[in-house]
Subunit: 258 residues, 2 copies
C-alpha cells in the first residue's frame, strides 16, 4: 500500500466518569470525524481514569507512536483535575502557573467580581514551554506541549478548542471515501468483496451491515487518498454486485438476507 504523507493521531480521553458510565463520551466521535476531514488518520483511542500513573503511561505510549495526540478532560479547578500535572510528569517538565493564563483568568474573574482563588488558579497550570489553546467558551485555556494537545472534556469546549487547533496541524492528503449501497447482507457479498479488497490494495474497503427489522443490507465504504484508486475499486464493487445479483436471480435466495 502506498504510504505517502500519512499523518497519524491518537486520542486519550481522561475521566472516571467515562469509565463509570455516568458520562457518555461525545468527543471521540467528533475528533474522529474532524481528523478524517483533515486527512489525518486517528489510529488509536484510550480512555483512562483520573489516575496519574495511568495517564502518564498511556500518554507516553501514544505520543511516541503517533504524530499528534489529543487529550480530553481533567483540566478544571478541582482535585480530580490532574491532567496538567500528569502531562508534565510524562514529559519530565515542571508544571507551573502560566503567567499569561493567570492574567487571562484573573481578568475574567475580576470582571465577574469573583475571587480568583487557589482552585480557579489551578486552571492556569501547565508544563513550562506550553503554548495556549484558546477557549472562547469558558476562557481557561488548553495547551500544546510537544505533539500533545490538552483540551477540555466538556464537549462544547472540546469542539471550540479543536476548531482552534485544526488549522495549525500538518494535514495529510485528505482521505477520500465513497459509499455504495448494497441491497444484500454481508453474508452474500463477503467472499467476492474480499477478492475486490485484495485486488485493490491501495484502498481500504469496509462493509457496514444494516438491518431494518425485516431486511438486511450493507453499506460498502471505499476509502483511498487517490481518486483514481477509489474509482477503480468502486467500479470493481459495482461489477461484483451485478454478479451477485445474477447469481441470486438463478438461485433461491432473495435480496435482504444477512
Amino acid at each position: 500500500m502506498v504510504q505517502e504523507n500519512i499523518v497519524t493521531a491518537a486520542m486519550l480521553a481522561i475521566g472516571d466518569e467515562l469509565l463509570s458510565g455516568r458520562t457518555k463520551d461525545k468527543n471521540i466521535g467528533h475528533l474522529a470525524e474532524m481528523l478524517t476531514l483533515a486527512g489525518i488518520d486517528l489510529k488509536e483511542v484510550r480512555i483512562v481514569s483520573d489516575d496519574e500513573d495511568a495517564i502518564v503511561e498511556a500518554l507516553n505510549a501514544l505520543r511516541s507512536r503517533y504524530r499528534y495526540v489529543f487529550t480530553s478532560g481533567g483540566i478544571g479547578p478541582t482535585h480530580d483535575d490532574i491532567t496538567a500535572d500528569a502531562v508534565g510528569k510524562a514529559f519530565g517538565l515542571e508544571v507551573t502557573h502560566d503567567a499569561r493564563a493567570m492574567d487571562i483568568l484573573g481578568a475574567m474573574y475580576a470582571k465577574r467580581d469573583l475571587p480568583f482563588n487557589e482552585a480557579r488558579q489551578r486552571m492556569a497550570r501547565m508544563p513550562v514551554g506550553s503554548r495556549h489553546i484558546d477557549n472562547p467558551i469558558s476562557v481557561a485555556p488548553g495547551f500544546i506541549i510537544g505533539n500533545v494537545h490538552v483540551m477540555a472534556g466538556v464537549p462544547a469546549v472540546f469542539v471550540a478548542m479543536l476548531d482552534n487547533v485544526l488549522p495549525q496541524l500538518e494535514g495529510g492528503k485528505t482521505m477520500l471515501s465513497r459509499t455504495i449501497a448494497c441491497p444484500y447482507g454481508e453474508g452474500d457479498i463477503g467472499s467476492p468483496l474480499t477478492a475486490v479488497q485484495k485486488a485493490h490494495p491501495d484502498t481500504v474497503i469496509g462493509s457496514y451491515p444494516k438491518f431494518d427489522g425485516k431486511v438486511y443490507s450493507t453499506d460498502i465504504v471505499i476509502r483511498s487518498r487517490q481518486e483514481s484508486d477509489l474509482d477503480a475499486a468502486a467500479a470493481a464493487v459495482e461489477t461484483m454486485l451485478t454478479e451477485v445479483a445474477a447469481l441470486k436471480t438463478k438461485g433461491t435466495s432473495a435480496s435482504g438476507s444477512d
Copy 2:
C-alpha cells in the same frame, strides 16, 4: 484505601469505522454502566482499527492486566472481520470453524433457505477451547476464551450478548454512589472539596460541572463500596456546602459562578 475484592475490567472496541467517525460508538458507555451496576471497575478502554497487530498488542496488554476483557466488533462474515483470528493469535491458539457454531448457523441458514457459504461460515470461527456467548438477535455467537469476552459491534447484539455474560461474572462488591447537587460552580468548591476528599480516602469524590447557559452549578458524586464511608463523606460535603454558602453571603460573589 481499602482494596477488598476489587474486580477490574477493560474494553477493546475494534473497528476502522469508530476511528473514522463514521460510526459513533455506543457500546463503551453501555458496558461502563452495566459493569458499575455489577460492582466491577472498568479501568481502561482502547479503540483500535481492523489491524491484526494492533488488536493483538492491545488485547495482550489488557488481558494480562485486568480480570475481565470485553471486545466489540469484527466478528461478522467479511474480510475486515478479523477479531477471531487476532484473538487466537494473542492467545497462541489455533482458530477453527467451531463445530457447534457451524451447526447453529447452518441450521439457521437452512431454515431461511440461504446458502451457508464461506463468508457466513467465517462467523463460526473461534479459537479452540472457546465457550459460546449466545446471540438471541442474529444467531452468530460471540465467544469467551480465557478472561476475554468477544462480542459483536452492532449495539443491539452487544447488549444482548452482555446480558448473557453478566450473570457469569464474579462481581465485586457493588460500588455505591450518591450525588449531591451543589448550586455553585467548581471554582467555588474546588479547594474545600479537595480537603473533603483527603479526609475520606475510602471514597472517590468526583465533581461534574454544569452550565445551563446562564448559571454554573456542580454535581458532586461520592462513590464507595461501604455505606458508612459514603454517609460520612456525604455529611462532610453537606457541611462544606453550608460553609461555602455562609462565605458567599458575606462576600460579593453570587451562586451560579464557575
